[in-house]
Assembly symmetry: C2
Homo-oligomer: 114 residues x 2
């Protein structure tokens, strides 16, 4: 289980952004009760499959869930998702520490297009 490492700032921001959405919190909650495949998950949560797909991508990019293909008995390729065993403690001190390794939107250096 994670939680005792220094905790990278960008990584933290990625995780927080991924969790800052009601649908995604519910996805975590459902997957915490057991692994599941995309179409079924969409039915359980009552959201469209493309939408769920997008949310899962965001969660997976943050390392909060993991997916893998599994071929069912009747030959269908299904994508199962499961939560990873992430864990971090949030408080001012932890954030202050993580912020030291934050590369995004620095004083000088936002993406600055043109």
């Amino acid at each position: 289980m994670a939680g005792r490492e220094p905790l990278d700032g960008d990584q933290l921001l990625l995780a927080l952004s991924a969790l800052a959405n009601p649908h995604r919190l519910r996805i975590i909650a459902v997957l915490a009760g057991g692994t599941n495949y995309v179409s079924q998950l969409a039915r359980d949560l009552q959201i469209s499959r493309p939408l769920l797909h997008m949310h899962l991508q965001r969660l997976e990019a943050a390392g909060l869930v993991e997916g893998h293909i599994e071929v069912s008995d009747d030959g269908k390729a299904m994508r199962y998702y499961a939560v990873t065993d992430f864990a971090f403690g949030l408080n001012a001190a932890a954030i202050a520490e993580a912020t030291q390794t934050l590369t995004q939107s620095e004083p000088t250096g936002r993406t600055k297009g043109k």
Copy 2:
């Protein structure tokens, strides 16, 4: 210090949304090092005062920082901000529990204007 209560879902979502931003993480980090007033904070972070004002509102609405007016020796009314002693542990189980009290974007019932 907070952290052992059941943790309300909407409250959690509010906090996560508030923290899911590099500027706001930095604000927390700076305030963790000591209370400060708005204009000075804006200079430290190198962002505009109106922008900082907006971020502070978001953080205060989530209960992560608190502000109060303080009159300086030379009579200026200045708004000082300080971090509250928030603390929560994030992991799949905690999220699953909090999600039970999530009122937002239910299967039926998004804000649905007109």
